[in-house]
């Protein structure tokens, strides 16, 4: 059986400028942050990012990696507005395809099922239809004759997700309260890269949770990356919660260009090992 384990750099090396990249998690919850940080260190640019947006969107936007964003929001959850996303929008730096949350779900689902679109009521009457002039409606061929939104498939070149556990073959297990849409991201993508807190033997899955925790299946996964604390500073329950002190420092730094340069120098200028060391030092300062 193929061993799909690789480094974050190898995974990100498969991403090329101009690609459409889907990022799993939701807001500031279980984001594949180690993979995002690796992407920050790469030369890749001009990306279309599809995400239920959190600091993944913020970091990639601040680094000038994003040409176009497809999302319904960008938030840090405990801090309502993602500061870099907000600044980028107010500067007019990024293109935005602003969709309703359920339209995001239907777009990913359509891609998974290899359908061109799925019909939805959501969007009708709202300015989602106005700011996305490419959106079309479709009329039900049945008796009801309802005219609904034809939510287009959100096909991805690459998906990046973070799970609690994975095996070397690409099976992924989540142990928290919500799968978010990580399985859809993986199956909607030509290639999916799963980072995880710990690579385990396949036989170990059953000890950690029931069969319904086995969210991502290996047929949809190209690479597996072991990245302890790989969702930091977002939550990865039950392995760890959100690092609120660090997130707060991130948001504060993001609001000021000088502070952001210092934050980048301190936390984002080295590899993942240096990141973890810098975060540990930050923690010891006692916030």
């Amino acid at each position: 059986m193929t061993d799909k384990t690789m480094t974050a750099e190898q995974a990100v090396g498969r991403i090329h400028s101009g690609m459409t990249v889907g990022i799993g998690g939701w807001g500031s919850r279980r984001k594949p942050m180690a993979l995002v940080r690796a992407l920050l260190r790469s030369e890749v640019t001009d990306l279309t990012v599809v995400s239920f947006g959190g600091p993944d969107v913020g970091l990639l936007t601040a680094a000038g990696k994003v040409r176009k964003l497809v999302t319904a929001f960008a938030t840090l959850d405990s801090i309502p507005l993602e500061p870099h996303f907000r600044a980028a929008r107010e500067r007019g730096d990024i293109e935005l395809t602003e969709l309703d949350e359920s339209m995001m779900m239907w777009g990913l689902t359509a891609a998974v099922h290899r359908l061109p679109f799925l019909p939805a009521r959501a969007g009708l009457g709202s300015d989602v239809m106005t700011v996305n002039p490419g959106l079309r409606t479709v009329t039900s061929p049945y008796e009801d004759g309802e005219e609904l939104v034809a939510v287009p498939a959100l096909r991805l070149d690459v998906a990046l997700v973070h799970l609690n556990r994975a095996d070397a073959r690409g099976n992924g297990q989540y142990l928290g309260p919500d799968p978010y849409f990580d399985d859809l991201f993986c199956e909607a993508a030509a290639e999916a890269y799963v980072s995880c807190e710990r690579v385990v033997a396949t036989a170990e899955f059953a000890d950690a949770g029931g069969p319904q925790t086995l969210l991502v299946k290996r047929h949809a996964v190209t690479g597996v990356v072991e990245t302890p604390q790989g969702a930091h500073f977002t939550s990865c329950v039950p392995d760890y919660g959100r690092d609120e002190a660090f997130q707060s420092a991130y948001a504060k730094a993001a609001a000021d260009p000088t502070a952001w340069r210092e934050f980048t120098r301190r936390f984002l200028s080295g590899d993942e090992e240096r990141y973890r060391a810098a975060v540990a030092a930050f923690g010891r300062e006692g916030a």
Partner: protein, 251 residues
């Protein structure tokens, strides 16, 4: 006892009333006061209501009966969205802008292409308003919120739903708007906002002054009802001893 009722407590009771008679559905409150209101409704006149912990768990816990952390169900985002489209949910959302037809904006202020102020984004407002009963909570009633025209229609109002056709109006159901000054609804011939009740010690003039469009307020408009002593005790001692309500609506 009711002499000491704070404005925030009137708001809690007004929010609770939004879910009266809804039956066995999910109450989805956004904001501290609506959250306290939904709990109050569940603990008093609407015991069938379902509530989440704010994440993926439906918590049936009744603190009067014991453990408030008891989980009775699981509602991850995709199931939550299915519950929305199935209509078995009544959401109370916030609004950065709201117009007389009930169009709501939480996305951004100014020109969408390059907003003066980026806010939350459209989130689930479109799916909410077209599929399940929707009410709004406005902790600070002002002309900044109640505007002639919203900058980006996220939650769909009556005029826009009608213009979008029968598929948009089929399950469209705007219930009420609770603010720190009054309770408003759309019970007018053209289904535009009017004042249903004024909170005690609030004048019609103050509400008109804080609203950016002409507002119907009947001469005999009633007062928002008083909390019962039992409700006040629940709010103060059981549901919100930390007084989060007073931080959202300062007295």
């Amino acid at each position: 006892m009711t002499g000491g009722v704070t404005r925030a407590e009137y708001c809690v009771v007004a929010c609770a009333e939004a879910w009266r008679g809804d039956g066995e559905i999910l109450a989805a409150p956004m904001g501290a006061v609506p959250r306290i209101g939904a709990r109050l409704a569940k603990l008093t006149f609407a015991p069938e209501l379902m509530l989440t912990d704010g994440e993926a768990m439906i918590v049936g816990g009744d603190p009067e009966l014991g453990d408030p952390e008891v989980v009775e169900g699981w509602l991850p985002y995709r199931a939550h969205l299915a519950l929305v489209t199935g209509g078995r949910r009544h959401v109370m959302m916030g609004a950065s802008q709201l117009d007389r037809h009930g169009n709501q904006n939480i996305s951004c202020i100014g020109d969408w292409k390059r907003p003066g102020r980026q806010l939350l984004g459209v989130r689930g407002a479109p799916v909410n308003t077209l599929n399940n009963p929707t009410s709004y909570w406005v902790p600070r009633h002002s002309r900044r919120v109640f505007v002639e025209r919203v900058d980006m229609v996220c939650g769909v109002g009556h005029d826009r739903a009608a213009a979008a056709g029968p598929a948009a109006t089929r399950f469209h159901d705007l219930r009420c708007v609770v603010t720190d000054l009054a309770v408003l609804d759309f019970a007018t011939p053209d289904r535009t906002l009017r004042v249903r009740s004024l909170h005690p010690r609030v004048t019609a003039e103050a509400v008109r002054e804080a609203t950016g469009f002409p507002l119907e307020i009947a001469d005999d408009v009633p007062s928002t009802r008083e909390p019962t002593p039992a409700e006040l005790r629940l709010i103060r001692e059981v549901i919100d001893p930390e007084r989060a309500r007073e931080r959202e609506v300062p007295s």
